[in-house]
């Protein structure tokens, strides 16, 4: 490298001496900074300190009003009502013990409960901690009268969740409560402030993101006592949407009434769309009591209740289907061309198999039985024979085509799958081979097989509509606050499995006989307004000692050991508009305990307000090749 051209040394020195100018300028700058800092921090320090105390800016969240929830006809199910909410701002509290004591005294919380609440993770001590919503006027007054001593407590008017019909459809609607620590860490609930109400169950949980919206923020200037002085900036909450469910309020009401005090579940579906028209599970709970701040012991009572009121039996209760399963057996046999439906077998009430004897529910048997009678009178022997002939794997294959033993994909959290046993299933789960005797139990819906009332209804919708599998759904439409028109979702057709018209005709005719014929097991479901088709089931809670299907006299047993009663039906027979599945836990016989419940629900939907169908005829599927004539209202059949 060549040397860089440089100045004579003397000139360089001259230049370097001028650096003093730079020093002077910098020195002057530093000097004034120091002087100014001194005057701000030392001379006027206390003035500015006071300013900062009295002149604070707070960012507070504005909770969006949660979206409302309507039934399919626009009847409101959940809305919001203004109420008082108590907040505590830790930074502003002057006398901590006094404040906590006061809260405890007025609201009945224990000191530990309040401490836990206040010490919960916070972004900043200046952010208000929600203590309780839904204060009564008296409670508000008690806090207000002591305002000066209670610096740091603040009462805000906020909207609170209101479940218009109380317990009605509680398991479907769910409830909301404050976001907990675990949920704050979940990506689904990112950046939600403490105290945010989020859906914890049912629709409220499933569609939380739709209903919740984005919290807004407000920058406010407050004085040292935390009183709002003025709003500096405001970002309104946005994005919460209203939901329109598929539920039909009147049908839902009738389902709840019809089930009464029995434990069990009712599911009503529209076979043409998969819409859930009603879904109830008993015992239930009042969402209002769970929403907002729930007291620990209230919660404990609820979850320790042996009847499990928080369990949605319609989608989480798995029960052996009993004779309801015979519908599937009949379809399997007919589709496999294994039987001639008119061929009769002799039923003497027993079916010897190997070293065991399988019994019919009817002592002495049904005599000569063809397929039609086997369904109408629910002959077990016929199905022992049929099941043995078909084998468990063929049955399982058909059951899977109907979507049984798998989650239906209904839009509710925590749906249970149930079990459709097969030889492969047994090998996998029990590490044992399948015994042919077990097929006989399965054939009458006992043994390993079990599924949910929803799945039972699901199966029947496919029988009713000719093999279309619509995804069961609860959400029909969503409205934005900014748009007037709700967005209606079309039904989701999952699959069409081809069941021959012949098979359907035979099975449906038999199902009609179950209700409409004199010897049918569900005469109690007969309506004077329309024809109903269905199948009863009686599911054993304990396996009878004499072998599956034995006839232990269940009336002698205590209630909790009695059989579960099933009835799954569709109506009107000619043009099915509704499918209803009823399960009564320990109800005894399907015909006596479950069928009358279904009848009430069917009548509620079909008779009292026949034109209740906002989705219109366009998205409906009717029976292939059948006339679409409607049943005259109130007419005789």
């Amino acid at each position: 490298m060549k040397e860089y051209p440089s100045l004579p040394q003397e000139n360089l020195k001259k230049i370097q001496r001028r650096i003093v100018f730079l020093l002077i300028v910098l020195g002057f700058g530093f000097g004034s900074i120091l002087f100014r800092s001194w005057s701000l921090q030392i001379t006027a320090g206390s003035f500015y300190h006071e300013q900062s105390e009295n002149n604070r800016v707070r960012e507070v969240f504005i909770q969006p009003r949660r979206g409302k929830v309507f039934d399919r006809n626009g009847n409101i199910l959940i809305n919001n009502v203004p109420g008082f909410t108590l907040y505590l701002i830790p930074e502003d509290v002057k006398s901590r013990d006094y404040v906590i004591h006061k809260i405890s005294e007025v609201l009945g919380f224990t000191v530990e409960e309040i401490e836990k609440k206040v010490s919960q993770r916070q972004f900043s001590p200046y952010l208000p901690v929600k203590i309780k919503d839904g204060l009564t006027l008296r409670e508000v007054a008690l806090f207000e009268e002591d305002q000066l001593e209670l610096a740091g407590l603040k009462i805000e008017v906020e909207y609170q969740r209101n479940y218009v019909y109380g317990k009605l459809a509680a398991h479907v609607l769910g409830y909301v409560s404050e976001i907990n620590e675990k949920q704050m860490d979940s990506p689904d609930y990112e950046n939600l402030p403490q105290g945010t109400l989020i859906g914890q169950y049912g629709i409220e949980k499933k569609y939380d993101q739709f209903i919740r919206g984005e919290p807004g923020e407000k920058g406010i200037e407050v004085d040292a006592l935390g009183h709002e002085i003025k709003i500096l900036n405001i970002k309104e909450p946005e994005g919460s949407k209203d939901l329109y469910l598929t539920i039909d309020l009147d049908t839902q009401k009738s389902a709840e009434e019809a089930l009464g005090d029995e434990a069990g579940a009712v599911v009503a579906m529209d076979p043409g769309t998969g819409d859930i028209l009603a879904m109830t599970s008993h015992p239930g709970f009042d969402p209002q009591n769970l929403s907002g701040r729930i007291r620990q012991n209230d919660w404990d009572t609820l979850i320790k209740d042996p009847f499990k009121p928080l369990n949605n039996r319609a989608i989480q209760g798995t029960y052996p289907p009993g004779s309801v399963f015979k519908v599937l057996l009949a379809i399997t046999a007919l589709e496999a061309h294994e039987i001639d439906p008119s061929k009769q077998i002799d039923c003497h009430g027993v079916f010897p198999f190997g070293k065991r004897v399988f019994r019919d529910w009817k002592k002495g048997g049904h005599g000569a039985v063809d397929l039609h009678r086997s369904i109408v009178e629910s002959c077990d022997v016929y199905y022992y024979k049929l099941g043995d002939q078909l084998g468990v794997d063929l049955i399982a294959e058909q059951a899977h085509k109907f979507g049984l033993g798998r989650a239906t994909g209904i839009d509710l959290p925590s749906e249970k799958e149930g079990i459709i046993p097969s030889s492969e299933w047994k090998l996998k789960t029990r590490r044992e081979r399948w015994f042919p005797g077990e097929t006989l139990s399965v054939s009458i819906g006992q043994g390993y097989v079990n599924f949910t009332p929803l799945q039972a209804a699901y199966m029947m919708t496919q029988v009713a509509n000719g093999g279309y599998r619509y995804k069961p759904r609860l959400l029909r439409a969503v409205s934005g606050q900014e748009t007037d028109q709700p967005i209606v979702f079309p039904p989701v057709l999952l699959d069409t499995h081809q069941i021959s018209k012949r098979t359907l005709d035979v099975v449906r005719e038999a199902l009609r006989g179950v209700v409409q014929e004199p010897h049918g097991t569900a005469g109690t479901a007969r309506s004077e307004y329309f024809e109903t088709a269905g199948k009863t089931g009686t599911a054993q809670v304990i396996a009878a000692k004499a072998g599956a299907g034995g006839n232990l006299n269940s009336k002698m047993l205590p209630k909790f050991l009695q059989d579960h009663a099933w009835f799954v039906a569709f109506a009107p027979y000619q043009d099915p508009k509704i499918v209803v599945a009823v399960l009564v836990e320990h109800g005894g016989h399907g015909g006596s305990a479950a069928a009358p419940v279904a009848k009430k629900v069917l009548e509620a939907y079909l008779v009292k307000k026949p034109d209740r169908n906002p989705s219109g005829p366009s998205d409906r599927v009717t029976l292939d090749g059948r006339s679409q004539s409607r049943i005259p209202e109130g007419g005789e059949d």
Partner: protein
């Protein structure tokens, strides 16, 4: 090219000072971002990444002989001007000004780099043309043009702070090169005569918010929730710090986002609120040592190029420092000037560290007579 003496002559004390200031920066940014909203973006972590990148740049700027760098000064200058032109056409708009160039994953502010460009090109020109007796008027035309092009480009963005910063680099070198007394008087007279016109021109080219800033600087209480808001809140934040400060994370004003831009232009207020007058003294001592060190480099440089480079760098850092702190203290109008080594922001960090690298470069090579 690498010389053992680079290590033996390397001044580790200087690096210690720089590191101390960087630590203060990270702590202060952490403190601001401890508040909920910035938490997601983890600004202080990003700042640490930028510091690491800047360290690499720093060492590159130390290793390559400054004479070699100077030989490419006009090239660097040209690149900077092109980048500034690019900003005008494809730049990203942020906070009302078009300052950023974005390359997908990274975006930077060419106006920050333009300080380096002007520094290199002026140091080269002045050192090549300096005589002991000072500059003549005609000799100033070219450097003024060199300054003028990027100056007007950044002013257009608008980035008044960077424009003034460049001017101050120019002025600090002017101090050294000296003007003949006749020229000085002449310039002074012309300036005074042109002042009303200049002011008019200047004033009409300011954006309205810049005018507002100047006006509110004169009287901040005119619009306390608008433009004066920054100044008032900054003063409250600093003032409430008192002698000992409110402690780390204890600054109510900055924590509550009372202070907008707490992590960038008003980082000093955050620091002053939390560490008080004592903290300010410590910080000023650190910066003072840094600048004195730079002046020492300028004074002892082997050649005029080294002296001009060092003086320009001291001028640039000193100017940014005083103007930034001055504006947070309410002594100067709010112009967007970052606090060197402290404010959050990658481009400024890289620029400052590159400049400090150059300083070290000049210092180390003053002992090297032959190449």
């Amino acid at each position: 090219m690498f010389d053992r003496r680079l290590i033996t002559k390397f001044d580790w004390k200087f690096l210690l000072i720089v590191f101390s200031i960087l630590c203060v920066s990270v702590l202060s940014i952490y403190s601001v971002s401890a508040y909920k909203e910035q938490m997601k973006s983890m600004l202080y972590v990003k700042q640490i990444y930028w510091i690491m990148i800047s360290m690499i740049v720093f060492f590159i700027a130390v290793v390559i002989d400054y004479h070699t760098i100077s030989r490419y000064a006009y090239l660097v200058y040209a690149v900077v001007v092109i980048l500034l032109l690019l900003v005008m056409f494809v730049g990203k708009v942020g906070l009302g000004a078009q300052r950023w160039l974005s390359f997908g994953f990274i975006s930077f502010q060419p106006s920050e780099f333009s300080k380096l460009g002007i520094l290199l090109v002026l140091a080269k020109y002045f050192s090549e043309n300096a005589q002991g007796s000072g500059f003549r008027m005609t000799q100033l035309i070219f450097p003024v043009v060199l300054l003028g092009i990027p100056f007007f480009l950044v002013l257009k963005q608008p980035d008044l702070g960077t424009g003034l910063s460049m001017t101050f680099i120019f002025i600090s070198m002017m101090f050294l090169v000296g003007l003949r007394s006749r020229s000085l008087v002449f310039i002074g007279l012309i300036f005074l005569m042109l002042l009303p016109f200049l002011w008019n021109f200047f004033w009409h080219h300011l954006k309205s918010y810049q005018k507002d800033r100047l006006l509110t600087f004169i009287n901040p209480t005119v619009d306390p929730s608008g433009t004066g808001y920054h100044i008032i809140q900054s003063k409250i934040a600093i003032g409430s710090g008192g002698i000992f400060g409110n402690g780390l994370l204890g600054g109510t004003q900055s924590q509550l986002k009372f202070l907008p831009e707490g992590h960038t232009d008003f980082i000093f207020a955050v620091f002053a609120e939390e560490w008080g007058f004592i903290g300010i003294i410590v910080l000023l001592v650190l910066f003072g040592l840094l600048l004195l060190w730079g002046i020492d480099v300028a004074f002892k440089a082997k050649d005029s190029l080294g002296t001009f480079l060092a003086a320009g760098i001291v001028g640039m850092i000193g100017f940014n420092l005083i103007v930034n702190i001055g504006m947070t203290l309410g002594m100067m109008p709010v112009v967007g000037v970052p606090l060197p080594l402290m404010s959050y922001g990658g481009t400024a960090m890289v620029t400052t560290m590159a400049a400090l690298g150059l300083l070290m470069n000049v210092k180390i090579r003053r002992f090297m007579l032959f190449y």
